[in-house]
Symmetry: C2
Subunit: 240 residues, 2 copies
DNA sequence: GAACAAGCTGCGGGTTTACGCAAGACGGCG
DNA sequence: CGCCGTCTTGCGTAAACCCGCAGCTTGTTC
């Protein structure tokens, strides 16, 4: 068995290397990549079937890299190993997992034991392993309980990109009013409202901008999500 | 000499520990804290004069912690050791450094040698050491060359928080029109206009929201800056 | 002290947002 | 089939935003 490690922090990389050796005696080769771009390249060259991947890398982040790898070989098993459980990451990952693929999401704060168990479960047993904390987010995010619908999330991203209502309408094939409807839905769920309770009128918010801020503070959005969305937007703009 | 390490990643923490031991033979005690809150507490108890501090920690980030520590003992020497050189961080740090304090800003990607040199320079020689890459930002940021004025940055933060023009005017003691003037200045510098040049009218941006996005993508803003700004805002709101 | 740049402010108007109201459209369910 | 909930769309309005124009107050420079 060969394992590919994609991780930009040298300390974490060597820690992972050791963990893989310890957890998977049947693994004879470990390859390392220090960013997503190199990771993609090595995965292609070696036809890697077992990958441990960091999210949040400078050159090309884990989600991007995983997407292209899975596009080429959907049966690849990928364990995401991340510092954070931002909803933006979780949502980003669940959106690109191919049907039936084995993957995992483990936090860097997890114990050695957890990491090794996850390595075996995914790479040997082909099971999905998702950290409890992450799992919670995932369910809320995909189910409709308390979380955000895809269309709500979509419009959140659109205003975060700085599009006007009209531009969004054009992009998503909706009428102006529908876009505004969804916006109100979003404001509602994000609870962008307050300040009216006081008699003090000064503290009024610009709903649109405030929604973005709150989404950031709640980690519904993060840098990497913005970056991806911006790239998609540019693509769309170029395609007319 | 005693050294306090404030860093939430265990791997990085032990790496730092070793680096300190190697670079500073005169150091007899090393204390470790795993987040900003504990860091503050230990610094107070031990009256630490030499601190290595990570930015970006979950519980209380490095800038917050450093601020309160410096408020209590401004002669404390702090070496910031960070993964990133976001302008938001750099600006945040330079704003809280007391006059004449010795401090440093070294990236985690720097070599062992660089780190050890910085440790000696700051803790033994009381010199300021700032990574070249960071230094560049700092100068552009504080000088006016190409960078953003304090007032421009201020209003950027205000709209990023989601305040209305009127609310900003109230908070900053300006007229409505002045606020809008500054906004235009900001839009200008951020180059939020691009799409207007095209004949294609579809890709119109909402300037206010777009400015926030661009600031994020350029790392003028990041999560930690938002978080701090939000805290200040709440404080201000409470104070009426 | 005159000239000048830079910033604050009021006025006015064109555009975009936020949102209530109400009329279809679509899909499930008894 | 008729009832009902969810989603879409148009109309209309009040508020907020973007911004050109022009009068003022500063601080700077020659």
């Amino acid at each position: 068995m060969k394992v590919l490690i994609v991780e930009d922090d040298p300390l974490h990389r060597s820690y992972l290397h050791e963990a893989v050796n310890a957890a998977l005696p049947e693994c004879d080769t470990v390859i390392e990549a220090e960013n997503g771009t190199i990771g993609e390249k090595l995965a292609r060259e070696h036809k890697s079937a077992h990958i441990v991947m960091d999210l949040q890398m400078a050159s090309r982040n884990g989600i991007e890299a995983a997407r292209t790898i899975w596009k080429e070989r959907p049966e690849t098993r990928i364990l995401f190993w991340s510092n954070y459980s931002d909803e933006a990451y979780v949502r980003g990952v669940s959106r690109i997992v191919p049907d039936g693929a084995a993957y995992g999401y483990v936090l860097k704060s997890a114990s050695d034991e957890r990491l090794k168990l996850a390595l075996r479960s995914i790479f040997v047993e082909s099971q999905c392993v998702v950290d409890r904390e992450v799992r919670g987010l995932q369910q809320r995010s995909l189910g409709q309980t308390n979380g955000f619908t895809d269309s709500e999330y979509e419009i959140l991203v659109d205003i975060a990109l700085g599009l006007t209502d009209r531009a969004i309408a054009g992009r998503r094939g909706l009428s102006l009013r529908s876009v505004q409807n969804r916006l109100q839905q979003l404001y509602d769920k994000l609870d962008v409202y307050q300040a009216a309770s006081d008699d003090n009128d000064d503290g009024r918010f610009n709903l649109r901008a405030r929604a973005i801020t709150i989404a950031f503070l709640r980690k519904l959005l993060n840098y990497s999500a913005l970056e991806r969305a911006e790239a998609e937007l540019q693509e769309w703009l170029d395609g007319k």
